[in-house]
């Protein structure tokens, strides 16, 4: 197996995530897109780890960290979305623009 195929796959997933981030109206859907991007990152890490075979498995350890942080981020993110939904009865990101000019 070539490394590039994994990287290309990761790039594809990542660009889907970018698309979703920019296009989705629902806050939760945006968070889902972000998860997709994080997943692509994990794939890249593990692929590089498999290619380079470092003595201390750095890529995998880092992938674990990424997963952990992603979990934390989702928790907080959803809590915020919840609060906004409570206040505004809507999870539409287009309407969350109080910090505008």
């Amino acid at each position: 197996m070539s490394l590039v195929q994994f990287l290309v796959l990761g790039a594809l997933m990542f660009s889907f995530g970018v698309y979703g981030l920019l296009v989705r109206r629902n806050a939760v859907m945006v968070l889902l897109a972000i998860e997709l991007m994080l997943n692509a990152v994990n794939l890249n890490l593990i692929a590089f780890e498999a290619a380079l075979r470092t003595a201390f498995a750095g890529g995998q350890v880092f992938a674990i960290f990424v997963i952990t942080v992603a979990a934390a981020e989702v928790g907080i993110g959803l809590a915020i979305v919840l609060l906004i939904f409570r206040n505004r009865r809507s999870a539409n990101v287009d309407e969350m623009d109080l910090m505008r000019w």
Partner: protein, 659 residues
């Protein structure tokens, strides 16, 4: 006198005499208002110092003779040096003493007379200024300093005559004095310039040396210079035709009339001629006859005018003019000592006469003799002082005026001016007549006014008494043949005097003069004593043509007004005003308008449209750029994410392509 000392320390410090009154003036201006006598104490103290110092110098001159001169260079203009200094010689010490004594006594008198006056402090300041300027004048070793002092006393005279300037006629009198003096000063200044440039120096010693040595550069201008200087002297000493200011100057307070217009300031002209005597006696001797003529005319016409005056001070003013005529005539005829001797005695008795007049006016609150009468019993000190001074003026032996006037008459007669001598003798009659008239109308008869008349306070009567004694003894310093001290005092100078004719004891002249004087007293007694009660008899002596002429002062004032004043006031002043308003102001205003227009262009065009536009545009551009830029902050997270991604993509492409 040929031997002389240089005066030693006293002469070297003699400049203190000149400076003391100015210091007093400044002190009065600074502190006067707060003092109990409103600055009068300072003035009297300063004059006391001057009196004592001058007395010491006089004694020194009497004992040893003093000739001292010191000058300091003040400025250098081309080849001319302007100097400031002081002279201590016979003539100067005599003048210092006269100025010092009279000033001291009159200042003391003035502290009483001016008490409660509306501008007492200012009065003493101006009076001190006068005393200082007069001393500058008589201490000058050169013509330039003389002119400075001359103008200074003129200024002081103007200020003091117009002391009660709330009345228009008083300020007008001050202006009249100033203008008349100023016209005469043209002669003085041009004369000084002429002599100074001919000799190359303004110092008396240089000019008089040149005159004595018949310097060739001086020869063409000596007569002209002499005439011009004399014209200046005519103005200050109120000789015809410049005499018109002195009677009007009586508008000032009486101490001013006494000190300035009797004893000291008006004698400045006499002093000048005396100072320049070698010039007149030598190279300019051709114009001496002019001096005698002027002096003789003056003494006659002024004496006649004194007869018809109702204002007591005006009588005395015309009397002063007349006596000045005597002095001038004497100097013109070669009587150096005679003229100065009469100046000396005249200062004492005429100064006293004015003080007594002031005492009367102070008590009666009126200047006019028709408001007086019978004051002999009510104001004894004043009466006896007046009597003493009148006898001196009328020249009755042994009073002071007798000796000096007799000497003048002798000089005139013995030097070929017999016609002037007879005019002088006639003048003695006239003098006696008007003084007798004045005395009888003032002191005899009954007092018809309502004022509460009482004798003046001691501060006024004591100076009067002192001067009354002086009026008696002042003439005893130069009795020909017995004691000729005065003659020796005033000839103690740094020049050699050309030989002058004996001003000796001419019994014939003396008796004639005395006789005419006594005759005048008797005539006035006959006319005026009898009517002192009713004071109605004045109309009896009203000689038809002569009296109106006299009462209108020979129409001289009207002549001057029509010929000199009104043309200047009218057409000339209007023309000058037109030139000023339209031409000169036009130029100035035009410059202003151009400047304003230019400023408007710069402001409107350059500044507002140009510079401000640039700055404002910069600000607006920044503002609108920011205005547009802030729209980036939409508040929507997805927009931010989009921008981030776009930027990132561009960045990476750039890196990939270029690296």
């Amino acid at each position: 006198m040929v031997h002389a000392s240089n005066g030693g320390v006293l002469a070297q410090w003699a400049w203190l005499i000149v400076v003391a009154p100015f210091v007093a003036m400044l002190a009065i201006i600074a502190f006067g208002k707060r003092m109990p006598r409103k600055g009068g104490e300072i003035a009297v103290t300063a004059m006391g110092f001057v009196f004592v110092y001058s007395a010491v110098l006089l004694i020194l001159n009497i004992a040893n003779g003093v000739i001292f001169e010191h000058s300091v260079q003040v400025a250098q203009i081309g080849s001319f040096t302007i100097e400031w200094g002081w002279v201590v010689d016979g003539l100067s010490t005599m003048m210092y003493f006269v100025v010092g004594t009279l000033s001291f006594l009159v200042f003391t008198y003035a502290t009483g007379y001016m008490k409660g006056d509306v501008r007492e402090t200012w009065f003493f300041a101006a009076f001190s200024l006068f005393a200082g300027a007069m001393l500058v004048l008589v201490s000058a070793p050169n013509l330039v300093q003389l002119i400075v002092g001359w103008e200074g006393v003129g200024l002081a005279s103007y200020l003091l005559i117009g002391h009660y300037w709330e009345e228009k006629e008083n300020s007008s009198a001050g202006m009249k004095a100033f203008y008349t003096n100023k016209i005469a000063d043209i002669g003085l200044i041009i004369g000084a310039i002429v002599l100074g440039t001919a000799v190359g120096s303004f110092r008396y010693s240089d000019i008089l040396d040149a005159a004595a040595n018949n310097l060739s550069s001086l020869a063409p201008v000596a007569v002209a210079g002499g005439v011009l200087l004399f014209i200046g002297a005519m103005g200050k000493s109120a000789q015809f035709p410049f005499h018109v200011w002195l009677p009007d100057a009586m508008a000032g307070p009486t101490p001013v009339s006494s000190l300035m217009h009797a004893a000291t300031m008006v004698t400045a002209g006499v002093y000048l001629v005396a100072r320049m005597y070698p010039l007149y006696a030598g190279m300019a001797s051709d114009m001496r006859v002019l001096i005698v003529i002027i002096g003789a005319i003056t003494l006659l016409i002024a004496g006649l005018l004194a007869i018809v005056q109702d204002d007591l001070k005006r009588v005395l003013a015309y009397s002063t003019v007349s006596q000045l005529g005597y002095m001038i005539a004497a100097l013109g005829a070669g009587g150096y000592t005679a003229g100065l001797f009469h100046l000396w005695t005249h200062a004492f008795f005429k100064g006293l006469l004015f003080l007594t007049a002031g005492s009367i006016i102070h008590a009666v609150h009126s200047n006019n003799m028709s408001d007086m009468g019978g004051l002999r019993k009510k104001m004894p000190v004043t009466f006896w002082s007046f009597t003493s001074a009148s006898l001196a003026l009328v020249a009755i032996i042994p009073f002071a005026g007798f000796f000096s006037k007799d000497e003048i008459l002798a000089t005139l007669g013995n030097n070929g001016y017999a016609w002037a001598m007879w005019i002088g003798i006639l003048g003695a009659f006239i003098t006696a007549f008007y003084m007798g008239r004045a005395m009888f109308l003032t002191f005899f008869g009954t007092y018809k006014g309502e004022a509460h008349v009482h004798e003046s306070p001691k501060v006024m009567t004591v100076p009067m008494a002192i001067l009354a004694v002086a009026s008696l003894i002042a003439g005893w310093v130069n009795i020909p043949g017995v004691y000729e001290g005065f003659h020796h005092w005033v000839t103690e100078r740094a020049i050699t005097f050309p030989s002058f004719s004996a001003e000796g004891f001419d019994v014939a002249v003396m008796l004639t003069g005395l006789g005419f004087a006594i005759f005048g007293v008797i005539v006035s007694y006959l006319i005026y004593f009898r009517d002192a009660d009713t004071q109605q008899a004045r109309d009896r002596v009203r000689i038809p043509v002569l009296w109106p002429l006299l009462e209108n002062k020979y129409y001289l004032d009207d002549l001057y007004l029509a010929v000199l004043v009104n043309p200047i006031k009218g057409p000339i002043a209007r023309a000058v005003n037109w030139t000023n308003s339209y031409l000169i102001d036009g130029i100035v205003n035009g410059a202003g308008i151009v400047a304003r227009y230019a400023a408007r262009i710069v402001y409107g065009g350059l500044d507002q449209k140009g510079i401000d536009l640039a700055i404002n545009t910069a600000a607006i551009v920044t503002g609108s750029a920011g205005e547009q830029a802030r729209r980036l902050q939409t508040g929507k997270v997805q927009h931010y994410a989009a921008m981030t991604v776009a930027g990132l993509a561009l960045l990476v492409i750039a890196i990939v392509i270029f690296i």
